[in-house]
Subunit: 324 residues, 2 copies
Amino acid sequence: MASLRFNDVYLKDWFTIAGPLESNSRLKKLDIAMDDYYYGEKTFELAEVKMQKNVIQKLLDRNKLVQSDINLLVGGDLLDQIAATNYASLNYPISLLGLYSACATFPEILIVGSMFLKDANIKRVVGVTSSHNLSAERQFRYPIEYGTPKPHTSTFTTTAAISTLLSKEVGKIKIESATIGKVSEMGIKDANNLGAAMAPAAARTLYEHLRDLKRDVDYYDLILTGDLGCIGANIFKHFCELNYNLKVRKYVDAGCELYLKSQDVYAGGSGPACLPLVLFNKIIATGKYKKILIIGTGALHSKTFVNQKNPIPTIAHAVSLEVI
Amino acid sequence: MASLRFNDVYLKDWFTIAGPLESNSRLKKLDIAMDDYYYGEKTFELAEVKMQKNVIQKLLDRNKLVQSDINLLVGGDLLDQIAATNYASLNYPISLLGLYSACATFPEILIVGSMFLKDANIKRVVGVTSSHNLSAERQFRYPIEYGTPKPHTSTFTTTAAISTLLSKEVGKIKIESATIGKVSEMGIKDANNLGAAMAPAAARTLYEHLRDLKRDVDYYDLILTGDLGCIGANIFKHFCELNYNLKVRKYVDAGCELYLKSQDVYAGGSGPACLPLVLFNKIIATGKYKKILIIGTGALHSKTFVNQKNPIPTIAHAVSLEVI
């Protein structure tokens, strides 16, 4: 397992745009709330591109930065060929590293961004990720049978885009260490039960992170997975105890924390945007937690491989954050 | 533009598997030649997974390494959700960073792998990439009209997988410096003319690389783009001269160098595997070149965005290699 420690890497600021459902959910604070899923564009996909484009620009504006102040863009999303990131980057003549790790993309961005800040020439990195419920539905679940209810284990792709400003200058949150996950599967082939598929990957990454960093599970004020959903979160806790003898007490899952019960989104939220949205707009916003371990979980299948009856490969990346 | 210099990062070894057409092309030397497109599997996609899996294992075996000697896997491919890499990684309990940069994925792997070798805990990185003509055809061009010829500007996705062993120990090739590309487009919306779409991105990255590193174009014994194809390669040369006053003389394109004229593959080869396949099995194999600049070019569109009539975003990453 590759666990890394970082020196003097900070999350200076972030900017979030959230969809209509997310804006009326359990979030404490939002930078921009979208009125509808089109966001003034002709297609859901172009709406997602505009969301990414805008979170980057607003982040630069708020920090009085211009494009040339940023040395590197690191981004990824859920669309085939990470197209939302690629099209949004057209607006920014900044070197781009495109990543894909499904819903574990946000911690992967923090890890890669932090590592590139070790280079003397890289002073500021902007990370960007997004998901859009209806571009994801079109891609992964179209054609959708008319009137068919989803199983209660399925999750709801979050509509949001999040940008982050990583820098060597002291900022709001220190990126302290990280553990890069390994790919595994436990035989689950049901793309409507991704929480169960990903829970073992999250448990293993937590175990290896604590082992590598020589830490007890209570070292952290909060462990935040994203996104196992409410069902996957319970499996995760049981799996930690049974397999690794880890009692995970101070723990929530971003997918389970985002929506109201009345919003009826099955087992909770998912998508690469869900974890950072809940992290910034709910967890950090409370001001209660200092040491937070985020564990992003990704289901790494594709439609073609699932249609060919293959199991779902999963991964989980962990990043230790210290609120300054 | 982010240009980086690396110290003591080496390509110690590599391993290549190539498809039936590629094995009978202009390559000098191959590790494994496939007899057919299935490679003993039931689907083209599973064949591609097996190709990646095997190039990793054969590379470890030849270097007398076991899985635990490798600290990090860095990989990507052309399939939606980089599924070939994700499924191949199931066989290797090694931390994985998944990347996507279309046919520029190979240099992105070298750049990210080299940067992570700056960490004291990361001693060896394995990079892996692949493409498979028929899994790519199924994904990007299905349904294919019966009996319809392709335009002469279209390229042919190469079937191959390549693994690379990156290490701090002195090896066959030094990874000397790199320039991470920016996303741009010039209005081209034709997914059958990607060479023309990508040529300006390659020219810009070359220009900015030479500017940042304070080098003349003749500093390099060879500039190898991959993959503009024969038509895109000519546009690249003209674009360099007209826009940047750069006379690119010692230059070939991997897509244009791979196949025989009799193999009738339109404008040449493409796919993330094409550049490293030609680099290792043709260019390096001659023993003629010491300083080589590879410029990987990627077309970053998706089917959905092309169907919605959007232009094709492109990128190019450059890596300077020194044969020891």
